[in-house]
């Protein structure tokens, strides 16, 4: 009844592996056109930038996996809010960092919870609900800061997040890897993860097998909010400063990272390892395009084209193996 172990090529043709392969290729390409692109220092820098995107994209991965056109457009705004809460609440005091972090995570969780309730109970489409929430959070930020965030970054954040831990690799990269292992375990090795894939694949089946679909959705959007706030914490540690639209540029790239990582937009298929690879690819592409000195519009076009090509390749692979 058992089948001989799958030949390597099939494994290599899964989307996350394609993404990793592409990342290596991009690195080599960069080195070729601009020697020095693949230097150790450069690579750690790229990793660090990918880490921000990757951490913010944790929530997006969960939400997209949950299916039902799941998407979270409020991640960017919650990143900003999370950073601002820590910045203002600590006022630069190390001692207040832990409570401030907990408050930021709690607020992120609550915002996501409201998203989830709107989507699961009131049946508002996720796109509409989270887009609305993005506006609300931005409004809250304005009210909370008056447009000019006051406060300071606790010094200890610098040593946790931007200073190298070992081998010149900064802390946020380690944080990312630890989170990556944690989220992958959450998805593959817990009842929550199994139920998440189930509701993404077929909600009727899930419900008739005892999965509380609405509760799962609410929890998942809440987690997305919490991970976005965590992204704000990491970003603040790196920048040591906040501004009012700090997180905005991350919203759409998180979706791109999830998709490039091979998670199906329809839900129920994919994982966080893919998103990590996707975040790397996207970061490499932008670095490469900047290195090449392409103007902004050229970068946007190339970026878009790469996404389209990858999606076409994945679609083909799925059909072939479907």
């Amino acid at each position: 009844m058992t089948r001989p172990p799958n030949p390597l090529p099939t494994l290599l043709r899964t989307p996350p592996m394609i993404a990793v392969g592409l990342a290596v290729l991009l690195l080599l390409l960069g080195e070729l056109v601009r020697p020095g692109f693949a230097d150790y220092g450069q690579v750690t820098n790229i990793l660090r930038i990918a880490a921000f995107l990757g951490i913010v994209a944790i929530g997006q991965t969960l939400v997209i996996l949950s299916g039902g056109e799941g998407i979270d457009l409020s991640v960017g705004a919650v990143v900003t809010l999370g950073a601002i809460i820590i910045y203002r609440f600590t006022g630069g005091s190390d001692a207040l960092l832990l409570p401030a972090l907990l408050i930021a995570l709690g607020v992120g969780f609550l915002i996501g919870l409201v998203n989830g309730v709107g989507i699961a109970w009131v049946k508002i489409p996720p796109l509409v609900m989270t887009l609305g929430m993005m506006g609300v959070v931005k409004g809250l930020i304005l009210v909370y800061t008056g447009g000019r965030p006051q406060g300071a970054t606790p010094p200890v954040m610098k040593s946790i997040i931007s200073d190298p831990w070992v081998l010149g690799i900064p802390g946020d990269v380690f944080i990312w890897v630890i989170l990556g292992v944690g989220v992958t375990l959450l998805l593959q090795r817990t009842a929550y993860g199994k139920a998440l894939y189930a509701i993404g694949s077929n909600r009727t089946t899930a419900r008739l097998s005892g999965v509380r679909v609405e509760r799962m959705l609410i929890l998942t959007y809440a987690l997305s909010g919490m991970f976005s706030a965590l992204g704000g914490f990491v970003l603040l540690g790196y920048l040591q400063n906040v501004f009012i639209n700090l997180g905005d540029p991350y919203t759409l790239p998180t979706i791109a990272a999830v998709v490039v990582g091979g998670t199906a937009l329809a839900g129920g298929m994919g994982g966080y390892a893919g998103t990590m690879a996707g975040a790397l690819v996207l970061t490499l592409v932008s670095s490469l395009l900047i290195t090449l000195g392409l103007p902004e519009f050229g970068r946007q076009i190339t970026y878009g084209l790469i996404l389209l090509v990858l999606l076409a390749v994945y679609g083909r692979e799925r059909r072939l193996r479907g």
């Binding site: 089948r3 894939y197 189930a198 089946t205 008739l208 097998s209 129920g268 298929m269």
Partner: protein, 512 residues
């Protein structure tokens, strides 16, 4: 080759990884013939149908059509050549109307090169008219396909193939979700189509259907053809022997009604519905060790009744007692915790996670009990899944394969098997043997007998009257959401069952 043959498959082979779906399988279909394709679950019947339909490209072998070798690169080419196939897994577009589904991909015959809306409507109505009186009131051109119950969707699939006016019509388990009257009507039509010279291939696991309608049969076992017989010259035993490769004695005995009559103690489960969705004032009790059948035509509230027991239709005016205790399940998870299990009637829409593995489908209702600390014990989960798979003789590649790689009957075993992992006290079954082969059916009956001996209560709806007659202690017949008859012991006969289903009044049902 021989001119009398309309369609011929010659030494067709197909592998999926290490699974051999077909191995040099050959069969020939004559004009005006009904040819049954038989075999156990996973023996390659659907794969052969898909090769003929141009859906699956064979690794080897040839297809001959009317004396010419053909090679279809896609289903459209096969269709153009006059081959229409009703696939085992339904394929209607749920958001399109019945009429649009019927003509999807081919327009109704048009005059002056334009689709004439009125003519199209008339053609559609003529087609639906074939089954009108054995379907519900919503069986109409403008109804959305997704709103039809499974049996009526199946009828639309059949009509969609018929609308092509094919030379060859393949029906892959098209009767599995139809009730007795619908099957009767279909077979009447098959007789007409046959007379017109169509060649018809039918795949079915119901023996009586083969003897009712087929002229010849080709039997597959593990992808190989093991026999071709003329129906007039064979027996049920011979066919079962060919299909299973064993003497049919064992299979037969298990089908007999489990002997132990239910001990009339206090009821395990009792339900009283005052007003519900599709249900109107009814009461029932299930005793430990009893198999309670639900009979009647399709869509008379049987599914709603089972769903209500399972807590999946909240907001109805009903009261439920489990072992005497009043219970109100607001969600299936609550019913599950109380020891209920439910096998839905539509495996693809309600029973399977198509995108996930066999393992995850098996364990979906039980993951929580495999937590060891914060993480799941996947090793133990795999062992449990393998054990159930073995018990049900599941034919599969690996536990991590997509559940869609299973044959139809094997997928049904997964839908059923996931509840065995939980050792329930009450089993609610909505047509659970749909598409399951004779051997596995016998084993399933055996399993039911074992479970009832342990004191389980079973509520069982089947579209197959024979199953109700041979398995159940008692059958409640439903008509328009009410129980119109309760048949047991000597009253439980085919005749009574059919009469009650149709609402034919009985002359006082005293002692027989």
């Amino acid at each position: 080759m021989s001119e009398t043959l309309l369609l011929q498959a010659q030494r067709v082979s197909k592998r999926y990884g290490a699974t051999i779906a077909l191995q040099e399988a050959s069969f020939g279909l004559r004009k005006g013939e009904v040819h049954a394709l038989l075999g156990a679950n996973g023996s390659g019947k659907s794969t052969l149908a898909k090769v003929v339909a141009g859906v699956v490209a064979p690794d080897g072998g040839e297809i001959w059509l009317g004396g010419q070798a053909v090679r279809f690169r896609n289903p459209l080419e096969a269709r153009a050549a006059g081959i229409a196939v009703v696939y085992q897994e339904l394929s209607l577009v749920e958001d399109l109307s019945v009429q649009d589904n019927l003509w999807l991909g081919h327009e109704p015959p048009a005059r002056f090169g334009r689709v004439d809306a009125r003519a199209a409507r008339a053609r559609t109505e003529a087609l639906l008219g074939l089954f009108e009186d054995v379907a519900g009131p919503r069986f109409a051109p403008e109804t959305l396909a997704g709103e039809l119950p499974p049996d009526e969707r199946q009828l639309v699939e059949i009509l969609k193939a018929v609308s092509l006016e094919p030379r060859v019509l393949v029906l892959d388990e098209a009767t599995a979700s139809l009730d007795g009257r619908q099957v009767e009507r279909l077979f009447g039509l098959v007789g007409e189509w046959k007379a017109r010279g169509w060649g018809i291939v039918i795949v079915t696991h119901r023996m009586e259907e083969i003897f009712r309608v087929a002229d010849r049969a080709t039997v597959l076992r593990n992808g190989q053809v093991v026999g071709e017989v003329r129906i007039g010259e064979t027996s049920r035993e011979e066919l079962i022997g060919l299909i299973s490769g064993e003497a049919s004695r064992a299979l037969h005995s298990a089908e007999a009604r489990a002997s132990a009559p239910a001990r009339r103690t206090s009821p395990l489960l009792s339900l009283r519905v005052r007003r519900g969705r599709k249900l109107r004032g009814l009461e029932l009790e299930v005793y430990p060790g009893e198999i309670l059948g639900l009979g009647g035509l399709h869509g008379q509230g049987q599914s709603e009744l089972l769903l209500s027991l399972f807590g999946a239709l909240p907001g109805q005016d009903l009261s439920l007692r489990l072992e005497g205790q009043p219970r109100a399940f607001r969600h299936p998870s609550e019913a599950m915790r109380a020891g209920l299990a439910y096998v839905p009637g539509d495996r693809n829409r309600e029973g399977l996670l198509a995108a996930r593995s066999i393992l995850e489908n098996f364990l979906l209702p039980s993951w929580k009990s495999y937590h060891r600390g914060p993480l799941l014990d996947l090793g133990q989960a795999r062992r449990a899944a393998l054990e159930v798979g073995e018990k049900l003789k599941l034919k599969f590649g690996a536990l991590d394969d997509r559940v869609t790689s299973l044959s139809g009957g094997n997928a049904q075993k997964v839908v059923l098997g996931k509840w065995l992992l939980r050792s329930p006290r009450v089993l609610l079954l909505d047509d659970p043997t749909k598409g399951i082969d004779v051997g596995a059916k016998a084993e399933f009956y055996q399993l039911l007998a074992e479970l009832r001996a342990q004191g389980l209560g079973v509520v069982f709806y089947s579209s197959d009257d024979d199953e109700l007659l041979s398995l159940c202690d008692r059958v409640l017949v439903l008509l328009e959401g009410r129980i119109t008859a309760e048949l047991s012991h000597a009253e439980l006969t085919r005749d009574r069952l059919i009469r009650a289903s149709l609402g034919v009044k009985e002359v006082v049902s005293g002692e027989p």
